[in-house]
Every structure is written in C-alpha cells, then in structure tokens.
C-alpha cells in the first residue's frame, strides 16, 4: 500500500515546515505549497489523498482553494486550519463538505489523529425508521463529497457501527424496535469514539434530557442541511483540551 499523500498549504513557513515534518514522521508523504495558487497548480498535475490548508492567506484563501479542489476532485477530504474561528467564511465552508476545521494552535497528536481518520474516509451513519428520510439525509452528505450510509433501525445501525468505519452517527430519536435512547447508550458502550448527532421529529424533552450528555448536539426536524453538515464537520474536530 502506497503512503498517503497530503497536500499541505500555508503561507506561514514556520508552521508549514514543522507540520510537514511531523506528518512525515507519522509516515505520510507531504507536498508543501506556500499559497492557494501554488496548491491548485500542484493539484492539477498530482493526485493527493488529503488536503490540509490554512484559511487566511494572501491571494487565494483556503476556502476558495477548497471550493476549487472540490470542483475537480469532490471525494478528496479537505481539512482547513485557522486562527480565526468565528468567521462566516469558515461556517459556510464547513457546510460545503470540509472534513473538519483545526483551530490554531492545535495539539499535534490530536490533529494527527484527525488527519489519519480523514485519510481513511470514514462514514456518516444516518439512522431513521423512515427509509425515505434516511436516504434523503444520507444523500445530503454524499452531495458534498462525504461518505454516508442510511439504515432504518437500531439493531441494523449497531451492526453497521461495529462492522463499518463510522465516526459520526445521525440518529432519529424516535424509532420502533429499539428506542433512540437505548441505541445511543449501546452505541456509546460499543464505540465511544463515534460522535452522535440527534434529530427528532417532534419535541421529546424527556428523551433529549436522557441522552443529553451522550450526544454531540441535537436538532429538531426539519434540520437545515447546511447546519447538519456543519455539525458533522464540527463533531469531527479534535476535542479541545
């Protein structure tokens, strides 16, 4: 198996060379670019498994680079880095299929874990007892280049989590057979690293309260697609120490 190739883009030389060294130490093959334009030129001729780019750069910024790359190779995961976490630019990029955002400064080990996961291309599992809803939600993620699978019951979902490479789970709280709350508990027990995002058809405060501490965030249907996609990206970010 060939080494994973990472395109690392940052105008800040200090971070770029040290981060590249760290990635190489982990066994990645790193190609550095000092600007968005340079990165795009490299991507024209070479194939990469993963893109890691700073957002604030003179000339083409990281979000524009991400969009340009997405248009060419929609399935290549892209991780953005920024010292400025509250920008609108960042928010919209996260809902367009960025794998996740690394807020500078970041812990290198945690960041490496996220990179490794991104390179693997993990799946977003959509659990909903209404097949049409499940399929629609899954297709939202696929449309922005994220891997997603739809399942229609709790036991089915548990099996998928144990067998497949799932890192985020979008769960409808009200399901037949196994309740959403039971599923979440079981899921946390089996695979604690999987982040759970809850959606519910109507207000179920007691269920929400029961699962509150175990889930990343919760939504009430209908969930705006961009918010759901952004929530997945945020759930994939390394936990803040």
């Amino acid at each position: 198996m060939s080494r994973t190739r990472i395109l690392l883009v940052d105008d800040e030389e200090s971070l770029r060379i040290t981060l590249a060294a760290n990635l190489e130490l982990e066994g990645y093959e790193v190609v550095e670019a000092g600007s968005g334009e340079e990165a795009l030129r490299l991507a024209e001729t070479e194939a990469f498994d993963l893109v890691l780019s700073d957002i604030r750069m003179p000339g083409m910024n990281g979000v524009d680079l991400f969009r340009a790359l997405k248009a060419r190779r929609p399935m290549v995961p892209c991780i953005l880095m920024s010292a400025f976490s509250l920008e609108e630019l960042v928010a919209s990029a996260l809902s367009e299929g960025v794998f996740t955002l690394l807020s500078k400064p970041f812990d290198i080990q945690a960041a490496l874990a996220v990179l490794t996961k991104a390179a693997r291309g993990p799946v977003v599992l959509v659990v909903d007892d209404t097949p049409a809803d499940a399929e629609t939600t899954a297709s939202l993620f696929k449309a922005v280049g994220l891997k997603a699978t739809a399942v229609f019951s709790g036991p089915e979902a548990l099996q998928a989590i144990i067998e497949g490479d799932v890192d985020v789970c979008v769960v409808d709280l009200v399901m037949p057979g196994m309740s959403g709350a039971e599923f979440i508990e079981e899921c946390r027990k089996q695979r604690p690293e999987v982040a759970v995002i809850v959606v519910s058809g109507y207000s179920v405060p007691e269920l929400l309260r029961a699962t509150e501490t175990q889930v990343f965030t919760s939504f009430q249907k209908p969930v705006p697609p961009d918010q759901l996609i952004r929530a997945v990206a945020q759930a994939r970010a390394p936990a803040k120490s």
């Binding site: 800040e12 200090s14 060294a21 604030r56 003179p58 880095m81 010292a83 400064p105």
Partner: protein, 485 residues
C-alpha cells in the same frame, strides 16, 4: 387653559395681594407713627397757644389758670392720648388710623377754639387732611369728615364764636366749611384710590417677576438634572465603547498570537518526538532548524505583545538631540532585507539635529520602512527612501517613500486607526502606534499615495525655539547614500 396654568395664575394673584398687603401695612404703620408725633406736637403747641393768649384769669381777687389752658392740657391730652397709644400699641390696624383721623380733626377743632375761632386756624384741617392722604387709604376721610361736619354743625348751633370767631354766622356757614372739606376729600380720595391701584400693579409685577424667577430656577434645576443624566449615559456609552474596543483589541491580538503559537507547538511536538526516540535529535538537522523556528516565532509573539503595550501605554517622549541620519541608518538595519528592494538613506548628513525621543522615533522609522518594503509587489524592483528636511526655524519633515502598489483611496482615511489592517497577518496596531508617538512629539503624520505607483508617509514636527546647532554630524556637508539589496 390647563388646570396647572389656572392655579399658577391664582398663585401669582395671591402673591401680589400678599405683597400689596405688606406694602400697605408698612405705609400704614409709618403714617401712624408720623401722626402720633404730629399730634403730640399739636398738643404741646395747643398748650402754648392757650398759655400765650389767656394764661391767667381773674375771678374777683383770685387769679387762676384760664380754663383754655386747662382745656388745652386736659382735653387736648385726652384727645391725643388714645390715638397715640393706639399708634404705638396697634400700628397699621384700621381702627388705629380711623381713630387718628377723628382725633386729629378734634384736635384741630380744639386749636380753632383756642385761637378764638380764627379762620386761618381752619387751614390746619386742610393740612391734616392732606397728611392723611399719606395713608393711601380713602376710608380714613370718612371719620375725619364726619367729625369736622358734626363739630361745625354742633358748634354753629351752640357755640358759633368758638368755631367761626363771630357770634352770629349765617346758618349755612358750617355747610360752606363742610363743602370745602368734602371738596378736598374728593381729590385726596381719588389720589388714594389711584396710588392703591399703582401699588397693586407694582405688587403684581413683582409677583410675576418672582414667579418667573422661580420658574427659571425650576427649569434650570430640571436642566441640571437632565444634564446629569446625559453625562451618565455618555459615560456609559464611552465605557461600552471602551469595552468594545478592548474586546476587539483582545480578539485581534489573541488571533494574531495563534499563528506563531501553532508553529511553536508543531515544532515542539517534532522535537519532543525526536528527543523521545533517544539520540535521534542530535543527528536530525531539522531539530536545529525547528529550534530556530521556535526562536523566530517566540520573537513574533513578543513583537505582537510589544505592539499592544506600545499602543496601550502612551509613553511621554524623552526629547534629546538625535541626529536623524544615523537614526535612519539604524532603523534601516533593523528591518529585515527583502530581495529586490533597496532601502536608501537620503537624510543629509548636514541636517541640523532635532530633539526627539530616539527609541520612539527609531520604532516609527522601522514601522514605516517595514511597511514600505512590504508594499512593493514581487515583480518590481523596489525602491524605498528615507529623507528629511528642516531645522534652523524651518519645521522638520521626515518622509519614507516607496514605489510599491500604493494604498486605495478608501483605506487612506482609516490607515492610522487602531486595528485597521489589510494584511493577512498583523494586529493593525503598527501605524496607530506610530501616529500616537508622532502626536506626542507635537507633530503630525500624513500619507500620500497613488495606487500602483507608490506611497509617501511623512512626519511634520514643529521646530522649537531652541533649535540645535546644525551640521553636527558632518561638517563638510557631503551626502552619502546607503543602498541595501
């Protein structure tokens, strides 16, 4: 008209009546006292007159004091005593002045009698009436006139020589006298009414004046309150603005620190791993390189913090003579060189020496030169020059000029504002710090720019009277340019 306005009018009316009463009371008391004195004098005069005219009477062989003298003393005393006592005990009382009016007429009647009914003595009545007008109260003429009329009538009937000086006056003689009295009354009453009306008008005017003064005071008190409230809300506003500015500043500086911190963290992670691997650190050239990265980024952090502190702490300039050419040379050497950009020191070495804060001005020049160097696009041979003129009474002008890409019109206005930046990195404090330092030197900083062609930042400093000697640095006055690649 509103209820408040009505009550306000009532108040003014009531106050004007109060003022009138005060004034009238004063007039009445004063006049009471005057009459008391006058009547005592008349009593004494009456006794004197009686004594002069008929001091002693012979009745057979007995000589006695004439009845007239006794009358003058006792009757006059009786007539005088009551009003005088009242004048002192109850001055200003209506009864007092009415008693005075009646008694005064009785006293006049007594004097007329004592002078044997001389017609000239009747003038006392008219004089006394005129004095009574000083009361400015027409009612006093009622008892006075009644007393005169009744006295004349009765005496005409029973004792005509006592009043008219003749034994058989015409039957209507008392009426003629009474007529003249009434005639005078008419004018005096009119004058009293008029003067009362005038007093009333005066009182009203004063009441109105007091009212408007009171209202003005009230209004100014209200204004004071409003002003106070305004001041408070302004302070709140300023505080909020300050908090917002501090928040913005903190965010800007905080974010700016994140980039070097990220690099340091990354370098540290690599070095830590190499050290942990046991002995590998020494052989890996990257470890040394990354120590350099850490050093550089730590410097960047401290520069950001220094900028912030320079901005926050408005240090007073320590003015000392400082040759500009040498300072410019120093500043140029501090700014990291950039390939393709030359920085030239065109400050004449013969330039007089200004008194400036060397450390602050070096930073001013470093910031301006750094900006100028960064303003040159990659595809151009950059030229940055530092120049200066002035001294010997001419204001200083120090300029940093570049042939860079220029500054768009819309940015020129904000360029010295804190946190304004167009760079992808930078706190936006550099030029604000520079402007603050120049201003604390009593000077001003300006900028001229043409987009695409270049920019000139210039500093103007006033020349103090104690301009320092010129040409300290190089007596020959030769100029020399220093180029940097």
């Amino acid at each position: 008209m509103t209820g408040a306005a009505v009550s306000q009018l009532d108040e003014v009316e009531a106050r004007s009546r109060e003022l009138l009463a005060e004034q009238q009371g004063a007039v009445w008391r004063r006049t009471d006292r005057m009459f008391a004195g006058l009547m005592l004098a008349q009593w004494v005069v009456g006794i004197g007159v009686a004594w002069l005219i008929s001091p002693l009477t012979w009745a057979g062989k007995t000589s006695a004091v004439h009845i007239h003298v006794q009358a003058a003393i006792f009757l006059g005393g009786a007539i005088t005593s009551v009003p005088v006592l009242l004048a002192f005990a109850r001055p200003g009382w209506i009864v007092t002045r009415h008693v005075i009016a009646g008694a005064e007429m009785l006293l006049a009647a007594l004097l007329i009698h004592l002078t044997g009914g001389r017609i000239e003595t009747h003038f006392l009545i008219f004089g006394a009436l005129a004095f009574m007008a000083m009361y400015r109260d027409w009612t006093v003429f009622v008892p006075a006139t009644l007393v005169v009329g009744v006295d004349h009538l009765l005496r005409q009937i029973y004792w005509p020589e006592s009043v008219f000086g003749i034994v058989a006056p015409e039957w209507w003689r008392w009426l003629e006298h009474a007529f003249y009295v009434v005639f005078e009354d008419a004018f005096l009453i009119a004058s009293c009414v008029i003067s009362t009306r005038e007093m009333m008008a005066l009182s009203r005017r004063q009441a109105e004046l007091e009212d408007s003064q009171f209202r003005a005071q009230e209004k100014s008190a209200e204004l004071d309150l409003a002003l106070e409230a305004l001041k408070h809300s302004q302070e709140d506003l300023v505080r909020n603005e300050k908090l917002a500015a501090v928040g913005k500043l903190a965010a800007s500086v905080g974010h700016e620190l994140r980039n070097p911190l990220a690099a340091i963290q990354s370098a540290h992670a690599y070095i830590a791993k190499k050290v942990g691997d046991g002995g590998q650190a020494a052989s890996d050239p990257r470890v040394g390189q990354f120590f350099g990265v850490v050093q550089r980024e730590l410097n960047a952090c401290s520069r950001i913090i220094s900028d912030l502190l320079d901005f926050a702490r408005e240090k007073k300039p320590d003015l000392r003579p400082c040759p500009l050419r040498a300072l410019a040379e120093e500043a140029i050497s501090i700014v990291p060189a950039r390939a393709g950009v030359s920085v030239t020191n065109e400050v004449p070495s013969s330039l007089p020496v200004p008194a400036i804060d060397k450390n602050q001005f070096r930073q001013v020049l470093v910031n301006l030169i750094q900006n100028a160097v960064e303003a040159v696009p990659d595809d151009r041979a950059g030229r940055v020059t530092v120049s200066a003129t002035g001294g010997d009474g001419v204001p200083w002008r120090i300029a940093v000029t570049d042939n860079g890409m220029g500054i768009p019109e819309e940015n020129l206005r904000n360029i010295f504002q804190p946190l304004f930046t167009t760079k992808t990195k930078g706190t936006g404090l550099g030029l604000a710090v520079v402007a603050g330092m120049v201003e604390r030197h009593g000077g001003r900083i300006g900028v001229e720019s043409k987009e695409g062609e270049g920019t000139e930042f210039f500093i103007e400093l006033p020349t103090p009277a104690s301009s320092l000697a010129s040409g300290l640095e190089n007596a020959a006055g030769a100029t020399r340019t220093a180029g940097r690649g």
